[in-house]
Amino acid sequence: MNWPILSLTLFMPLIGAIIIMTLHREREQAIKYVAAGATLVSLILSLVVAIGYDRSLGGIQFVESIPWTADLGVTYALGVDGISIPLLLLTTLIGFSAVYASWNISERVKEFFSLLLILITGVMGTFLTTDLFIFFLFYEVVVIPIYLMVIMWGSSKRVTKEYAGMKLTIYLLIGSAFLLVGLIALFVQSMAVNGAPSMDLMTLAQTEFSQSFQVFVFALMAFGFGTLLSMFPFHAWSPDGYAGAPTAVSMIHAGVLKKIGGYGLIRIGIMILPAGAQVIAPIIAVLALGNVIYAAFICLSQKDLKYIVGYSSVSHMGYVLIGIAALNLVSINGAVIMMFAHGVMAALFFAMIGNLYEKSHTRNVDDFGGLAHQMPRLATGFMIAGLASLGLPGMVNFIGEFTIFVGAFSSFKVLTIIAVSGIIFTALYILRTLGNVLFGPRKEKWDHLQDLKGPEMVPLLVLGAAIIIGGIMPFTLMDLINNGVGSLISQAGLMQIGGIL
Amino acid sequence: MNLSDLVFIVTALITVTAAVGVVGFKNIVHSALSLVLSFLGVAALYFQLQAGFLGLVQILVYAGAVSVLIIFAIMLVMDKDPDESNRSHAKQKYWGGLIALLVTLGLGAAIGSTIWPQSSGSLPEDSVGALATLLLGDYVVAFEVAALLLLVAVVGAIILAKGAGEHD
């Protein structure tokens, strides 16, 4: 393994973006093909990584390390383990699909696809790096392209796109300001303890921090990452943001970007600051319950498809948070699977909604009905996403939710039971929405709508396949994640509760 | 109280009174004349401090050139009733006075309660020579820069005072 496969995976989209910038703006087809090609190469490379990862060895593999800035202890360090591989796969899957979901973009194509590819690179970078500084660098790289994409290609249905974009940006940036304070404090403190500057996650994890310091920094991280993960009550940006954003951005945002929050909490929060995590986790769990129940209730009253999926994603993030907060092997396993599962599901949902909206110019549930007659393929996509969303066995989401509940039950009994009840609400609003939109009598006014065809099929095929394959054969994925979480937990020295699966 | 103390007190009183006149007079011409008196008082203080050369410079540059410049400018820009030409802001008079009072009292208290270090010797006999040695020795950079500064000021003042031509 001599050639830098992770760097290639990471920078493929960026290279694509640079190629696009050099193309003439009239050559829209060429631009789209470059974008698709770049993300496809990335996807293939990430599959190679997933298959090539040696599970018997475990730990962080495919390591690349170049010293970057000595006095900050920054190393350009890449590496993947069982936690980051699923998320890497998620990113490349959704990135590839997002390009196809945006195939019909006709305005400022060049800018759109360059920003989209930069965005994909940024998200991927956070999952691949093992250096705290580089992590944060990539973490914030994504915010600005999203803002620009929302204000330029977004839609102003219920809120204006300017408002949605700004709200999203400011929420995330304020969150990241707290995160940055925590990160700098961590850096300064570790330098005081170790005597040398280092941003390496492993080195930081081995550094002994006092408990009060850990609690303080973990609280900052919980706020920063929590905002990104739309933790209640810092979730307000998320539904508005998705509603305003163009399809591809909604897909990437709901599908992958939010997961950086969960990933950060696990990778940086729990691994480096286990003592802090133990103190703060119960608070997170209670807030997560707010996510699950509150967002599900809101969903029941929503009419706009994007808002429904937006709030449902807030609700689902509650499960992830509970999984993380329970702090045991099984629950964190579940959280990671859930992140993957929700990612593909939400992306598929948004791709379908985006396609429908593009053709019908409405997203109001009441306007639709019987679409299964005119658009069977689109309806299939909706069905897969919807059923996955309510956790139907056979879909990967079921595995995630189930594992979380099993794991969390050993830590928080009452809370878990309440959270499980959230599933009922989810089933309620998802089934109602699917029924109203897809089934029922045929409506004449939608006869002109064309079903998915050609490039539009790609998101459905790719993401749908991921949902179902993951659901039917969860063990390869589970095994991988278990491997990663296991070593992380032993690293953090947490109690290994459970081990039921 | 000996004679030199008396001289100091008299000069100080003249200087301060003249300075009060500068800010107190409502007519700017009176203020300017008061300023000249104040400059002269300061020059007298320099003589008492055995800084005769500085006293001369003060008289030539300040009481002479600067004052004349100011008075010329006043004559050029005098537009309104001269008795109203140097009024104070209605409101700023009060908080300006307050700030000035606080600054004076604060600094005065600090200065009054400080124990000053002992003198490290006595002033050189030939203070002009000593100044020249410094100016052309260690302080030559400052000296050269000051020369450029005067050049800049002169050229700049001409450009600004001449005004924009018809060209732009």
């Binding site: - | 600094l107 124990i115 060209h167």
Partner: protein
């Protein structure tokens, strides 16, 4: 003592004089080369300063310092001057006859900055400061037909004179207690005396005026708005960096006083400056004024590094000052190009710039985001250094204030981006800046991105420069 150690200073002074003479001698048509001469002269100065980097020598018994710290700032000022000349030449050309002297005033202002940064003694420092500010008074008022400009010049002069007087009174008290004005000797004669404390406070106030820190910022936005835009750019970058260079040298070397923690005073000033600068910037509608308030806030950030006073903090000061040159001048260069084309500095004029000139809009966005501290641009690394220093020195609250407000600042920077990308404009003709402006823009863009993704070289440079502390 070798005279060659003063080579950059001498070269700049000669350049200024040469420009004055050329302006008089050359026939009217030949004066187009003034910009070129200035540019070449500054390039030579840049090379001379770069060659001098790494020397550590006290000249004239410590009155003048030829050290890396000074050289770092010399490089910074000359780079700033070069970028201003490159991006401003189209603008300066419009001044007609007075354009010739404009260049020489710029060069003399630059000389003043250089002297300030290298001065090892307060008299020399003061003279450098005054050469710089007097040149700036004239430059600020240079649009003689424009009421705003002349008014700004007068306001600047009054403000500058007052602040100099306050600074000097402080110096006189420090001199009274310590008996010397050589920076390296003052520390040895340091005594905790009321007059010394008063002197330090007055000096802080004087420098705070020069740096337009809150609450001494009153007229700074007026001055920035009224001045010709290349002057505003140079003022915001150069004069501020020069004041910081002197401020840091004097306070870190001469005035450490364990009984009086002036760091806390500065911390409060920094916090107020960051908060007020950013909040007031939120409501601005003129790009010059917006950048003025943003520069006020930026000075607050740099001050944070000085408050910290440790290795990371001081390195942050130098690092940030340097990247600030590129990011801020990039933004100003775009604003200049837009003003040359449209005659307006209102944010309205930027509407639809993303369509008219995608490159200008992209560079503006990148530079503004760098100022906001968004990675992977230079500003982020700079803030990382500054706030690492602050947290290391125990000023956690200051880091909170600074980082939160820097995220708030994204709001107004993005308002400009929004105008550029989704606004509509009646005039959709592309704005095509001249070649020299384009060169300046590309330099700013490249430096802003490169320093952001690979900060190591600049950080090593800054590390060498702060050895003397």
């Amino acid at each position: 003592m070798q005279i060659s150690m003063l080579a950059p200073e001498i070269e700049i002074a000669l350049l200024g004089l040469l420009l004055l003479v050329l302006g008089l001698l050359l026939p009217h048509k030949g004066r187009g080369i003034m910009g070129t001469v200035t540019f070449l002269g500054l390039v030579i100065a840049l090379l001379l300063s770069a060659a001098g980097f790494g020397q550590e020598e006290a000249l004239f018994n410590g009155v003048y310092q030829a050290d890396s710290y000074g050289s770092f700032f010399k490089l910074l000022f000359i780079l700033a001057g070069l970028l201003v000349v490159l991006s401003g030449s189209a603008y300066i050309q419009r001044l007609g006859r007075r354009a010739n002297e404009f260049y020489s005033f710029l060069v003399f202002a630059l000389l003043g900055m250089v002297v300030m940064a290298a001065a090892g003694e307060l008299i020399t420092l003061y003279i450098g400061l005054e050469l710089m500010t007097i040149s700036f008074y004239i430059l600020t008022a240079y649009l003689l037909n424009n009421e705003l400009s002349v008014e700004a010049g007068l306001k600047y002069l009054i403000l500058g004179a007052i602040s100099s007087a306050v600074l000097l009174f402080g110096i006189s008290l420090v001199y009274a207690v310590s008996g010397t004005t050589v920076i390296s000797e003052i520390a040895g004669h340091m005594q905790f005396q009321p007059a010394m404390v008063a002197g330090i406070i007055l000096m802080i106030a004087g420098f705070a005026f020069k740096l337009s820190l809150v609450p001494f910022h009153m007229w700074a936005p007026d001055i920035y708005q009224g001045a010709p835009i290349p002057v505003t750019a140079f003022l915001a970058v150069g004069s501020k960096a020069a004041a910081f260079a002197a401020f840091v040298r004097v306070f870190m070397l001469a005035l450490p006083l364990p009984q009086f923690e002036w760091g806390l005073v500065l911390a409060v000033l920094a916090a107020c400056t960051i908060i007020l600068g950013n909040l007031v910037a939120l409501v601005q509608t003129d790009i010059k004024r917006l950048l003025a308030y943003s520069s006020i806030a930026q000075a607050g950030y740099i001050l944070v590094g000085m408050v910290a006073g440790n290795e990371y903090g001081l390195k942050g000061v130098l690092f940030y000052a340097m990247l600030y040159v590129f990011s801020n001048l990039g933004a100003f260069a775009v604003a200049t190009a837009v003003e040359v084309e449209t005659g307006s500095t209102s944010i309205e004029a930027f509407k639809a710039l993303g369509k008219r000139s995608p490159m200008l809009a992209a560079i503006m966005t990148v530079c503004l985001l760098s100022l906001a501290g968004i990675p992977p641009l230079a500003g982020f690394v700079g803030k990382f250094y500054l706030f690492s220093g602050a947290i290391g020195a125990g000023y956690l609250w200051l880091a909170f204030v600074g980082l939160l407000m820097s995220m708030v600042s994204v709001y107004y920077y993005l308002m400009v981006a929004k105008a550029m990308y989704i606004g509509t404009n009646d005039d959709m003709t592309p704005i095509k800046p001249d070649t020299s402006t384009r060169v300046a823009l590309w330099i700013c863009l490249a430096a802003t991105v490169l320093i952001g993704v690979y900060p190591a070289p600049l950080s090593a440079l800054a590390q060498t420069a702060i050895q003397l502390f």
